[in-house]
Symmetry: C2
Subunit: 451 residues, 2 copies
Amino acid sequence: MTYSTNNISTEHIEKKRIAIIGAGLAGSLLALKLSQQGYAVDVYERRSDPRALSAHAGRSINLGLSKRGMQALASVGLLEEVLKTAVVMRGRVIHFPDGSTKYQAYGKNDNEVLHSIDRNELNNLLLDHSEQYKDLKLHFNHKLVSAEKTKRLLEFSNEGRVVTVTPAWVIGADGAFSTMRKEMQYGERADYQQEYLEWGYKELTLEAGSDGQSVIELSALHVWPRNHCLFVSHPNLDGSHTLTLFLPFKGADSFQCLHTPADVRVLIDKYFPDLTPLLPSLLEQWDRHPVGALITTRTNQWSFEDWAVLVGDACHAVYPFFGQGMNSAFEDCYMLIALLAERPTDLATVFKTYEEKRRLHTDALAELSKQNFTELRQKVQSPWFHARKKLDVLLNKLFPSAWLPLYTMIAHTTIPYAEARERARRQDNVINFGSAAIFCLIGISVVMLLS
Amino acid sequence: MTYSTNNISTEHIEKKRIAIIGAGLAGSLLALKLSQQGYAVDVYERRSDPRALSAHAGRSINLGLSKRGMQALASVGLLEEVLKTAVVMRGRVIHFPDGSTKYQAYGKNDNEVLHSIDRNELNNLLLDHSEQYKDLKLHFNHKLVSAEKTKRLLEFSNEGRVVTVTPAWVIGADGAFSTMRKEMQYGERADYQQEYLEWGYKELTLEAGSDGQSVIELSALHVWPRNHCLFVSHPNLDGSHTLTLFLPFKGADSFQCLHTPADVRVLIDKYFPDLTPLLPSLLEQWDRHPVGALITTRTNQWSFEDWAVLVGDACHAVYPFFGQGMNSAFEDCYMLIALLAERPTDLATVFKTYEEKRRLHTDALAELSKQNFTELRQKVQSPWFHARKKLDVLLNKLFPSAWLPLYTMIAHTTIPYAEARERARRQDNVINFGSAAIFCLIGISVVMLLS
């Protein structure tokens, strides 16, 4: 179906407006970009305005901004401003059970780094900039109740009243449990899959020392890999780090077993003795912070005709272990905007093309993110893994355009995810073949020397 | 959590009653069985009483009743009565494009047959028998709106009013799009997957001849396998057959392409020329019957504490190609009832055990049902396939307990699905190894003869 302005009645001004469901990162970025391009936008968010909360009311969640996210932020002119609030992470520091550490650079030079940013701060910045456009309206406390796609009508509940709007078209940026997705796909033959990780997470803060300095290396992501559990930390500008503990929900030494403060203390002492002295407020923090669950979702049918389209977690939530949740959502937005610029009057084609070009890559990312959970927990403890990483970096330095480690491709380039995975597979084959050849040569040499 | 009658307040009589959501086949069977055992049961069905409709108001859908379903019907004392309304199907007749046919028996003797039954008739029979129990109440036009599991409360909408009940416990038998499942799993970490087949289906009736006799062999399932499409028919007692056409939704020669009666006629003539003369009312029927979609669903967390449990399509919808949808749902009921009889006061354990014992088998059935789609469409056209089937039957006759063809295990035994699949795999290995050995022996003999 072709979108044409002739289809739009001018009776209701609302009909000419774009509705964005969700004022999270992807929703706010799209609101800003579309406003910059002259569109009239309404953003509907079920929560209240996050900017009205005090800075520390919510949990401090930080994320690793990498190339794909940076590309999108650059496109709205905010990259520099965001980077000012970020802490550079040049690599990861691996903390072994015996207290020793190992450093692994994220790339071969200063361009190949990640940036630790505060999620709430970024969200607020995007909202502040959006709000400068007079054709943009932010509607907080608006919970999407239903979307009647045949009538092209959205119904929100807002503080006890029902608000009905008929936008020209709709972007669903309302997260992994997207109501827009459910409503839009109702009665369609949409495949859908949701899978929970058997591990949950809890966020804690590793405060800066009394001198205001970070108690561990600031410019790095830190990992405490244990087969059974895992701590990851992202640095904050104030010298603190946001720690995330990943632990199974059930079984021995799981969240389920932690009934008393003493249980928590015993668990942390057992697996992370080096963290204990750095976390004096552990037990107090433990009670304040909830246990979160992690979900991977996949679906097809990301859009409905020329009326609705999904972005980010609403169509593909991934585990956080490759640090690509926000980055891939921002890349969705970037791609959608680019396709829209190509054919602004043919939304149905834009939406279809977007899914066709994008879905195989976000499916690949879902797999990569699952695999990286094993890498973070287990592989980083193996000397073979480190030798292989070093070889990767060496080959990358020797052949900078021909040889790109998987991590480099995912974090520091915009090579589509599935292509990156395929290219990494080919590189693996080269290394495996090469190793086999070397062993053969050594064998032949030994035989010749002995004979 | 342990269920105990002490937990139940006697203030509300409703609290002591079991609620069954859905008066379809599984719901009605459970209502009858639980009533027979002395439980007080309320059945809530969103549609009106199907028995109030005229016999031919709904579509005539028939199903192949096999061992697992028969076992459950025998347990409520209705097997004989049901079989009186059924048509025996001793095997399948394969109709090739050139008009030739081939017959394949379903088993090695008269016990290994399927029974074609009318779905609505069976449903009505189960409801009629249930209703004879004074402690059973059928509530039609009651659509489940929400289930608040913490308050143990169900809310229905019934002709404009809201009905709230607080049953002792609940069985969700409300089909593939189960509201009970969604409500029960809300906020839980339940994995879920739904997958649509890219093919749809349309049901048509192949009327009996003017003499009241079936125009094709009555006591058989008929298959018209084409790579691109497929007709399957189940016989009815009146000499008619219910035909189901399976066809892709999109692409060349798909449902999407059939715009005019002429298009339909051309498609049927192209792929099923032998059916054309038998279907004089094809076009008239085509317009009356909708195109259906086929879905496979999987989930975990089939229950919530000692309060709610799911059966049948509500926890595992499968494609119909192994004819096991109803049979597996009835087997769920049979197993749940058996576990309940073992520990009637420990529902939480009953429900957990039921899922633990059952889910791997319904997961296996989902895979088998997908594979059988290929078998029905393609493999049955191959001479190799028929030779293999004959060998299977021969080995089964020689070693009746040691060698059981997969189809026999699924349709004519109650061997759990995953075990049947595993056993069939081992048998395949024996045949593959045997064939390889025979080829080797032939090769050696030839070489010896020549030398």
